[in-house]
Amino acid sequence: MVITFPHMGTMYIPVKALFDELGINIVIPPRISKRTLEVGLKCCPEMACLPLKVTIGNYVESIKRGADTIVLSGSCGPCRFGYYGVVQKEILRDLGYDVEIVILDPPREGIKEFWERVKKITGNSPLYKGLRAINKAFKVCEETERLLKLVLQKRCREVYKGDTDRTFNRFEDKIRSVKGAQGILECIQETRKQLENIKVDNNKKPIKVGLVGEIYTIIEPYVNLNIEKRLGDMGVEVHREMSVDGWVKYHLAPDIKFRRKQKQILESSKDYLGLCIGGHAWETVAHTLNYSREGMDGIIQILPFGCMPEIVAESILPTIAKEECIPIMTLVVDELTGEAGYQTRLEAFVDLLHLERSRRENEFGKVLSWN
């Protein structure tokens, strides 16, 4: 059995750690590229949302490299994502690929049925071994996220443009060939040290932007046209609450403290939206509100074209923008997104935030001088 899985940002790192520890062979799909997307476009319904097309591309590229089992998570979905596994199974069968798809969604049919599915992956290895592997993979997951946060902090402050990206690209090239959770952790530590040594301008007070929106779109750089890098290169500090690490802590391995904080954030937005309406719409609204109260200069919402929950959230955001006095911009991405227009909007938005900040500072200055 050779397992593969869809890409979502750097999620492949903890997943690799998990399967390495379990002693299961995996194929990491090649980095998402134009070719991945082309495969997806060819065999998916045109009106399907972008993540479906990209992930199908991932599977096909992995199958060509020898994978025969696909593992993906589901969410018994209140949005289309819930049906991804089933639909993709059909699509792959139509393409003539005879592969097994194991969907790991929350156990609603009882724990026994869920366990059967897990067993399909783990085989007959003893329970303690599985738990140990999960524990280690979880650690890798946390560390990867910390590394990504560091990248976001460094990129906007670096003195020599490109230092951060070069370091991180080297890390991504290397990590694929490292075996085992321990090795991966060491590699992360090493990169961490390198990143910490990057020369930065500590006096800089970068513009701060919060990213909200559909989880896949904001995490996967290929799909969002590398928005973190684009903004970082303009000297903007990007904040992103949504992460693989957070998702795991919230859904899979409940971290009580983390969950309580997230619940608080969600509930604080009940004046605008007080329940889950599918996808990550509630999170989008709640994080927007939270970011604006945390003192971000602006917020960018990204969604894949046709994402229903995010469209609902989009229509709520202008009210928040007005009441909280914070600029919010929505970007819709799909395979037809033009890079030039995207860049122009980002640049204009960042200019707007700079102007707004200097206006605020001026007003503040006036208040001070009057005293």
């Binding site: 090649p30 980095r31 590229s33 134009k34 070719r35 991945t36 443009k161 490109g162 990206d165 690209n169 590398n226 202008p318 923008a321 600029p327 819709v332 030039a340 227009g341 860049q343 122009t344 909007r345 640049e347 204009a348 938005f349 200019d351 707007l352 102007l355 707004e356 206006r359």
Partner: protein, 331 residues
């Protein structure tokens, strides 16, 4: 002889290239509006040649700014002090001449924007996303089809007594609806007026969606020359719409103002000089084989030196040039 210090703003758009000279008091000294015709390099060279010949012996270029969709190209050709996106450039220009503005409607060749200004600062903006039905290129095409010079298009719309209703949601459907109305025998001025109204409806429901449009409203961009559209806006919004004197080059003016600020801050300009514009510029494309993205890299060459590379997702080609020289002065 005393040369007046001037700042040059260049707006390389999809349909037109606009050049403008402003003096230090932001007054327009000279302006030039030429069609891009899909050949930005030779047209920009010629336009630079023309405008500098016209002002030879009177002015000294003390700063250059570029904007528009061709801003990256233009910036390496002239050696710009400032490279700015169109939205900011338009905002700056409007705020300089009309500080009390609350809304800017800008319709250019292929895009249309709305800029919302509050308290003298740009507070929100939007650009057309999927449809170009309301823009200059489309009007151009329809004028050509009706065999009416685009300059007279607006005047003609004003003559209409009973405009026909044209479906303006999509450029293709608008065209077929126009043909239909034509074949029903409607007079051209009614059709044109109907078209103007359809475009305004389209603009307000797409670009202006969810935006609070308050007076004072400034209407600029090439399409502002069209009085039919202006009248349709006034009718739809219920407010007077101001069209600035230099409505067609506002982007260039805005970026010239920014260039002035930058040049005054630096105390010098990066302008390469008119003589350097005469050399041979060419662009060459090749495919990178570094990864499956196979990006198409565009290499921009002047004489024998590579000035810039664009098009790579990972940035390795662009960086190679930037490491050598800091050509792009980012403001």
């Amino acid at each position: 002889m005393n040369l007046e210090k001037c700042y040059l703003g260049i707006d390389v758009g999809s349909v037109s290239i606009n050049l403008v000279f402003i003096n230090k008091d932001h007054k327009v000294v000279d302006k030039l509006y030429v069609r891009t015709e899909g050949k930005p390099i030779p047209i920009l060279k010629k336009a630079m040649e023309d405008i500098s010949k016209r002002n030879d012996g009177n002015i000294k270029i003390s700063g250059v700014g570029v904007t528009g969709s061709g801003r990256d190209l233009a910036s390496v050709m002239v050696g710009a002090d400032v490279v700015k996106n169109e939205i900011t450039a338009h905002g700056v220009a409007v705020l300089t001449y009309y500080p009390d503005t609350s809304t800017v409607i800008e319709i250019g060749g292929q895009d249309s924007k709305i800029i919302i200004i509050r308290n003298g600062v740009v507070s929100d903006f939007a650009m057309n996303t999927v449809c170009a039905a309301g823009t200059g290129s489309f009007l151009d095409r329809q004028a050509a089809r009706l065999n009416i010079p685009i300059e007279e298009f607006g005047q003609m719309a004003l003559k209409s007594k009973s405009p026909v209703r044209i479906a303006g949601r999509c450029a293709v459907f608008a065209e077929s609806d126009m043909v239909h109305k034509q074949q029903m025998g409607c007079p051209p001025e009614d059709i044109i007026r109907g078209l103007c109204e359809a475009l305004v409806r389209n603009y307000l429901s797409n670009v202006g969606k969810g935006k609070e449009i308050l007076p004072n409203i400034v209407f600029q961009g090439g399409v502002a020359a069209n009085q039919g559209i202006r009248a349709a806006f006034e009718q739809a919004l219920g407010y007077q719409v101001i069209v600035p004197e230099h409505y067609d080059v506002m982007g260039a003016i805005g970026v010239a103002i920014l260039a002035q600020r930058e040049a005054e801050r630096k105390g010098s300009t990066s302008f390469r000089g008119i003589e350097n514009m005469r050399q041979d510029f060419r662009a060459r494309a090749f495919e990178c084989n570094g990864c499956p993205n196979s990006c198409e890299i565009i290499e921009f060459i002047a004489g024998k030196t590579t000035l810039a590379r664009w098009g790579d997702r990972c940035g390795k080609w662009a960086m190679k040039v930037e490491d050598k020289s800091q050509l792009r002065s980012l403001a």
